[in-house]
């Protein structure tokens, strides 16, 4: 029996990528800059987001989507900032994908938003494969996790557009070697911009918020109304 090869040549995650592209088009048209946060559990995504929503809410319209396997604890926490927040509970799924973002936004008019944050499920592996339609993917690395995290989880650093080193107020207690951490980030992803913040003391927060505005300006051509 003759064997032949039939060419297919298709990206496995094409369905997700097409939907993400469609979402990004929608966000572009609405003038909504979308930032996703990825990290291991406990790196401080929700705390960073709490501070960020408060800081931005003075001058911009902001909202957040937060993903977890269970509970609405993060959404409840973030809602205290006054910003509209929705929780995506994934059940047992270890990451968000574009269709979950689309469903969460189904009856939500993002047209009035300047910034939409999407907090992914705490996981340094699976979220890296899925485009969510975001403009900026931010990977968090807390000072308590060890400077070699980027070397151990290169994929997530490769798909990120910016890294944020969090909990810098704990740097001394954790004997955090900043030079080593920055070197490791640069080894796996040369040139990745890095911001350092402490959401607790506010140190570095101004620079972080400024970076968000700069990135927004770069991504969106439509003026802020």
């Amino acid at each position: 029996m003759t064997t032949r090869i039939v060419e297919v040549r298709q990206n496995v995650l094409r369905k997700n990528d097409l939907l993400a592209r469609e979402l990004r088009r929608r966000f572009d048209a609405a003038g909504t800059f979308v930032v996703s946060l990825v990290s291991s559990p406990g790196s401080g995504k929700t705390t960073l987001l709490e501070g960020t929503l408060c800081a931005l809410a003075r001058t911009a319209r902001v909202a957040a989507l937060v993903g977890d396997l269970a509970t609405t604890r993060d959404a409840d926490r973030l809602a205290r900032s006054g910003a509209p927040v929705r929780q995506i509970t994934t059940g047992t799924v270890c990451h968000l994908d574009a269709s979950m973002v689309e469903s969460a936004l189904a009856d939500w008019d993002v047209g009035g938003l300047d910034f939409l944050f999407v907090e992914n499920v705490g996981n340094l592996v699976c979220p890296s494969s899925y485009d969510l339609g975001e403009h900026l993917r931010v990977v968090l690395l807390s000072v308590t996790e060890g400077e070699d995290k980027p070397l151990k989880y290169p994929t997530i650093f490769n798909t990120a557009d910016m890294a944020v080193i969090t909990k810098t107020d704990l740097a001394r207690a954790a004997a955090f070697d900043e030079t080593e951490a920055l070197r490791n980030i640069n080894e796996v992803r040369p040139g990745l911009p890095v911001v350092q913040v402490s959401a607790r003391t506010g140190e570095g927060f101004e620079a972080w918020v400024r970076e968000l505005w700069v990135a927004r300006g770069r991504a969106l051509t439509s003026p802020l109304c």
């Binding site: 064997t3 090869i5 297919v8 298709q10 496995v12 995650l13 494969s129 798909t159 040139g191």
Partner: protein
């Protein structure tokens, strides 16, 4: 562990391709997986068995072609394969290589089929 979802996508893509063909037996599905795709080979092979069960791919093998990480070294003015996939450093001149060329692929290349 999102490889099961990825395996289901592979089975769906192959199924769509099969729907456009005459009656055939699929002997293997060929995919390309880069080390920076975020997919673990062993987990994908394991998941493929589960995803293919009860489909026309039930008896097909999953053949995974590795795609080495390749980046552009602007100092050498050439494509280079770093010695460690995670560290984007030129093996010749040791310069950092920001521009990734290959290594994050996750792609169905084709199907090996026999006419039924």
């Amino acid at each position: 562990m999102h490889e099961l979802g990825v395996a289901i996508d592979i089975v769906d893509i192959a199924g769509d391709a099969l729907a456009r063909m005459g009656p055939v037996h699929v002997t293997s599905v060929r995919v390309r997986v880069g080390p920076l795709s975020g997919v673990a080979k062993d987990a994908l092979l394991f998941s493929f068995g589960a995803a293919a069960a009860g489909t026309p791919l039930e008896n097909a093998r999953l053949e995974i072609e590795d795609v080495p990480v390749t980046a552009w070294c602007s100092v050498c003015d050439a494509e280079r394969e770093p010695s460690d996939f995670a560290v984007r450093r030129c093996p010749v001149c040791q310069s950092a290589m920001p521009r990734l060329i290959r290594g994050d692929e996750l792609e169905v290349v084709g199907l090996e089929v026999q006419d039924a």
